[in-house]
């Protein structure tokens, strides 16, 4: 595309001079010249011809002088529009004023056209640089918008509405949160209704963060949910999901999963921990138990991994809290981790509180601990408590 140059001068001979000197470039379509004879005319042309790249303006003109024109152009706030000021050599104070007001460069009369040509080339280089930056900036803005939409979608696929069970004596309370470190994350929780008495609960953490983790998260969540909904036991569900995920995993991407099935009527919990942080059970009396470490490996790495199911029980008033390492591995500016002890302390002090309140307390405490440090990993918690 031709570079559009607007020459503003009350002396008409400059018009001839420029078109003569730059005739080759004009013929080749590299430069296109426009002419105005004072500041006001120039402003009108700028409004009509919005893609002017360079203004070559005399300082001393009738109606509106070059310095006033420069001020008006500055108000347009277009960094890709460059002004080259022209004046007599003796007019140095005006030239300095123009330079201090953001003129790109200046030329003195009588104009040395070879020199002006170099100045124009230099201006074009800068204009191209600005335009490229503007283009990249707008592409970045688009990616940011996409990410914001992706984040909304991700939050939307995490369940908010608790499954309902009709049978008597199966009342429970739940709470949950997922806060990604970047716009979108690789952590997720899930819960779903399996049959009249059973509910599936999932807490998982995909390796890495951001978009790759989020994509693998969506795949993992779907596969585990589809397997889980078949009503198979937790070890079978992990085995089946692992087989499918190992096929989908790129560069050994993996997901650690704690999958539990709770009988909401009896409080019996069967679970399989595939390389995930051991959850806590906060008993009604305020005592806290950390569940045993995982016996099996995470999902997505080895197709033939063996999974085992374990069992435990929640009495009425007991709470099961599942979480990801974004909690205990939240780092403060000194690179100290939040750690298990702080988490355990909050839990011990919270017996009897609602699940969501406890989770909110943990989040507040983690945020206070981390302070100014950037969030290092996705933070996810899910709690379920049997109530009488």
């Amino acid at each position: 595309m031709a570079i559009k140059i607007l020459s503003v001068d009350d002396e008409l001979d400059l018009e001839l001079l420029l078109t003569q000197y730059f005739r080759r470039k004009i013929r080749k379509g590299e430069y296109e010249f426009f002419f105005a004879h004072n500041g006001i005319e120039a402003l009108k042309m700028l409004l009509e011809q919005r893609d002017i790249d360079i203004i070559l303006s005399d300082i001393n003109m009738p109606e509106m002088d070059g310095l006033t024109l420069l001020t008006k152009i500055n108000e347009m706030a277009n960094p890709a529009l460059k002004c080259i000021m022209v004046s007599a050599y003796g007019d140095m104070s005006n030239i300095r004023t123009a330079m201090n007001n953001g003129a790109f460069d200046f030329a003195t009369k009588p104009i040395d056209l070879d020199d002006l040509s170099v100045t124009i080339e230099k201006a074009i280089e800068q204009i191209n640089f600005v335009k490229q930056s503007q283009k990249e900036h707008s592409q970045l803005e688009m990616i940011k918008t996409d990410l914001a939409v992706a984040a909304e979608i991700q939050q939307a696929i995490l369940p908010k509405k608790r499954p309902e069970f009709q049978a008597e004596g199966c009342a429970f309370d739940m709470g949950q949160v997922m806060i990604p470190a970047k716009e979108i994350g690789g952590d997720f929780y899930d819960y779903f209704h399996i049959d009249d008495e059973h509910m599936g609960l999932v807490m998982a953490d995909v390796s890495g963060k951001g978009i790759p983790a989020a994509l693998f998260m969506a795949v993992s969540r779907t596969m585990i949910r589809i397997s889980g909904l078949q009503g198979i036991n937790t070890a079978q569900c992990m085995r089946q999901s692992n087989k499918l995920l190992t096929k989908e995993s790129v560069d050994n991407m993996f997901v650690t999963v704690f999958y539990a099935i709770i009988n909401v009527k009896t409080g019996e919990v069967s679970y399989c921990n595939a390389g995930h942080n051991p959850p806590y059970i906060l008993r009604k009396d305020g005592s806290l138990e950390k569940m045993p470490y995982s016996e099996t490996f995470m999902l997505g790495v080895f197709e033939d991994t063996e999974f085992t199911e374990e069992k435990t029980k929640l009495e009425k008033g007991d709470m099961l809290l599942m979480y990801t390492d974004g909690v205990d591995e939240a780092f403060n500016p000194q690179n100290e981790g939040f750690g298990d002890e702080r988490l355990e302390q909050i839990l011990k002090e919270s017996a009897g509180d609602s699940c969501q309140n406890i989770i909110d307390k943990v989040i507040d405490s983690v945020k206070a601990f981390v302070g100014e440090a950037p969030q290092s990993d996705d933070i996810t918690l899910l709690a379920i408590k049997r109530i009488s």
């Binding site: 390796s207 890495g208 963060k209 993996f254 995982s294 990993d377």
Partner: protein, 100 residues
């Protein structure tokens, strides 16, 4: 985070120093490239000065393990600190690697 690789008694030794978090994982993946072509040699992952490992770091360890094993070698992990030991325990990595 730095990674140095040297050869000693027909084994490849990778010395990790610093925090192997998600941000460092990109460079570390490049740095451990020679281990992916160990041609049957055993590999030692020296973690004496490794302060922290994130899940992206664990992924790198799995990649190394898979390719070294496929070429007939063994992978030993040397001197992990308590924090990393906890991560290894939790994720089952302790059963996957021989820890010295």
């Amino acid at each position: 985070m730095t990674t140095e690789i040297r050869e000693e008694n027909n084994s490849l030794i990778a010395v990790f120093k610093g925090r192997l978090d998600t941000a460092a994982a990109v460079q570390t993946t490049k740095d451990v490239e020679p281990l992916m072509n160990a041609e049957g040699k055993d590999v030692v992952l020296d973690c004496t000065e490794l302060e922290y490992i994130s899940s992206s770091g664990l992924r790198i360890f799995i990649s190394i393990l898979k390719s070294v094993k496929a070429q007939g070698g063994k992978v030993n992990v040397k001197n992990i600190n308590d924090e990393i030991r906890k991560v290894f325990l939790m994720t089952g990595f302790d059963k996957l690697f021989t820890i010295q």
